[in-house]
Amino acid sequence: MFHWLEKNPFFFALAVFATIAFAGLVEIIPNFAQSSRPLIGTTPYSTLELAGRHVYIKNSCNACHSQLIRPFKSETDRYGDYSLSGEYAYDRPFLWGSKRTGPDLMRVGNYRTTDWHENHMWDPEKVVPGTIMPAYRWMFVNNTDVDTAYAEMITVEKFFGVPYNKPVPMKDGSTKTIKMADTLHQARKDALAEARIIVKDMKHQDVIDAVEVGRIPEIVALIAYMNSLK
């Protein structure tokens, strides 16, 4: 059989493809629907949070920070409850990372605050002596791309039924509605309103001034995203 295949390239290629193709199907398909279901209490990202997530991705934060708490005592002691599949239901893409040069950030919103992040992103060494994390000062200058975040919200609502503007069940039995604007103009206003809340706890005058005149520096969006990780 093998000799015959080696003389018939078409069937050879077909045999190779059959051999390599089905493993993926067997592993990915059976639990696909189940793995897509959100956990109660998990909400979609707001406009500014999603824009902040894009800042996180743009700077490859995931190259050094994981967002996956494994079910070990040492990890739950350090970072909080271990991760559950449903908590990631609105993460496109997933940001588990593969290397912890810095600590896990899955629940960083539980134990770090806006001003902590502000100081840390400006000068990590001052906040955590001995750190090897570099400063990210350009985030205090560059503007957040709110438009693309809004475009993504429209897309995921349209194609994947992400429940924007719909009540989402919370753990305590209440519901919470994450707003998605009707127009781009409104989306920018929504993001700015979120940014105003964040900068209340910030001290960089340039950043405060920027938000005052309607610009959102990337650091504000990033902090909104960090604070949402719980």
């Binding site: 390599i20 743009k58 490859s60 494994r70 496109r92 588990w96 750190t131 994947f160």
Partner: protein
């Protein structure tokens, strides 16, 4: 016409060789820079902390390092050998078909263009964050085009072939083509947001078709097998051609080749789950990933042992011929790396190793010791035959070999220690059951190992620069030799 030896056309092969050398150097240089950045973080802002800091920062450069080395250096190297080996084992010249020549040139130039766009976009931070699949959809389409052109070249050469039986190398090239096509297309399925929202935001942005756990599962099915089918199968294709050619020895066992090839095809694709052990993917997928990773030792070692036994009775060549040195050391590192990988995939080991530098060490003993050594060996074999000249300097080759081997040893030993140290410290509890170390303790302790790694990487880069110099000097100044001198052992000047 009938009995005249074929005049093979190597113009596309040459283009890919030089691209491989160029991007290879840049990619490794970036790697060395970020290694030093981890040891001495001040280097991140070596040009100040203003606007330029964004482009000298570890986080932007790391992606550039991995992607330029994998898709710039390695793929160019693979294609350089394809446009050389393909013609020779299929007994057909590219020059016999104008179409094939056009396909070859289109393949190269579109690839080079895509590579330039890729570098710029990664520096700008345009990424979808999936490891080794960072590129946004316009680049994904470009990559698909390049890949299909390579497919056309494979199909074309095979279609015109005079040698009816496909040689083992061709099996591996075909497998590489098919698997990467499948993985690339399925992992990168995404919806461009600009079009879905009727023209809002960045035109190049997209959102993944998969969410959360599913996205992770698809990504690591891709990520693991991209390693298999970019960094393993085409490299095996090379060694099956170049080692017998250079040594003048026949492949030790055809049956072992068969077993290793089909075994690798069947087993590899299952093992992706070992990248996400203890995650939220279903347990049975994790277990499958673990088990198949261990089974994977069989076909991997099958190939490596087949190569080493091919040298049976001719071991003196390892001492006398640096090209054989590169290939034999490459096979040895392949064995080493394919034993280390399965060990890390065992759940209890993975609990310590995952997220640490041990994984980085593993990648690099495979990449530096096996992939790069093999590509360098192949280029050293090809260059004299492409230009009809002898190797410029055997001394440089031998020196380079030892400098680079030392570099690799420093690299993986330091990363072993760093990884296991950090993994153990993360999980350590004191007598009261509290965590024994804060996270920063587990970072500062790694400093000496980061320095050793950076030194190892720098040595390796120096060796690579010697390689480039030697290749360029061979092409330009090597003594001209007759075709009769080029049968087996490559001629080299001291």
């Amino acid at each position: 016409m009938e009995n005249r030896p074929l005049e093979y056309d190597y113009s596309v092969s040459k283009l890919f060789i030089y691209t491989s050398l160029g991007i290879g150097f840049v990619g490794m240089l970036v790697g060395v820079i970020i290694a030093w950045e981890m040891a001495f973080p001040a280097i991140n802002t070596i040009f100040g902390d203003g606007a330029i800091a964004e482009y000298t920062n570890f986080s932007r450069l790391r992606v550039l390092h991995t992607d330029s080395v994998i898709y710039g250096f390695v793929l160019s190297g693979v294609w350089a050998t394809w446009y050389y080996v393909g013609q020779r084992v299929l007994k057909v010249s590219m020059a016999e078909s104008k179409t094939l020549m056009y396909v070859g040139y289109a393949h190269f130039w579109i690839y080079l263009f895509a590579a330039v766009v890729l570098v710029i976009s990664l520096l700008m931070g345009i990424t979808q964050s999936k490891e080794y699949a960072e590129f946004e959809w316009p680049l994904d389409l470009g990559i698909t085009t390049v890949w299909l052109l390579w497919g056309a070249s494979i199909a074309g050469l095979i279609g015109l072939r005079r040698e009816k039986t496909l040689y083992i190398s061709i099996w591996y090239y075909i497998a590489t083509f098919l698997a990467v096509a499948m993985l690339h297309l399925l992992n990168n399925l995404a919806i461009p947001t600009y079009y879905a929202s009727n023209g809002i935001g960045a035109w190049y942005h997209s959102v993944s078709m998969y969410a959360g756990t599913n996205d992770a599962l698809v990504q690591w099915w891709f990520g693991h097998n991209a390693v298999a089918f970019v960094l393993t199968t085409p490299i095996i294709a090379m060694i099956y051609y170049f080692l017998p050619k250079e040594s003048g020895q026949a492949i030790y066992s055809y049956k072992l080749s068969l077993l290793s090839f089909w075994g690798l095809m069947f087993i590899y694709l299952w093992a992706g789950g070992h990248h996400i052990l203890f995650s939220t993917v279903p347990d049975w997928v994790q277990t499958l990933g673990s088990v198949f990773s261990v089974i994977l030792i069989l076909p991997s070692w099958g190939s490596a042992i087949n190569m080493l036994l091919t040298m049976k009775g001719e071991w003196q060549q390892v001492a006398s011929n640096p090209i054989i040195k590169f290939m034999v050391m490459g096979s040895t590192f392949y064995m080493f790396s394919t034993l280390e990988g399965p060990i890390q995939a065992i759940k209890s080991v993975n609990a310590i190793a995952h997220f640490t530098d041990w994984i980085i060490g593993h990648v690099h003993d495979g990449a530096l010791g096996w992939v790069v050594f093999m590509i360098m060996g192949a280029v050293y074999h090809m260059i004299p035959r492409l230009y009809g000249r002898e190797i410029y300097s055997k001394k440089i080759m031998a020196t380079q070999f030892w400098i680079q081997t030392l570099g690799i040893v420093l690299y993986f030993t330091s990363m072993w220690i760093a990884g296991i140290t950090q993994g153990m410290m993360w999980r350590a509890h004191d007598e009261f059951g509290n965590l024994a170390y804060s996270f920063i303790d587990t970072v500062t302790v790694l400093h000496p190992y980061f320095v050793i790694r950076a030194v190892g990487g720098t040595l390796y880069l120096i060796g690579f620069a010697m390689f480039i110099y030697n290749v360029v000097m061979t092409a330009r100044n090597g003594r001209r030799v007759e075709a009769s001198e080029l049968h087996n052992t490559t001629p080299m000047a001291d």
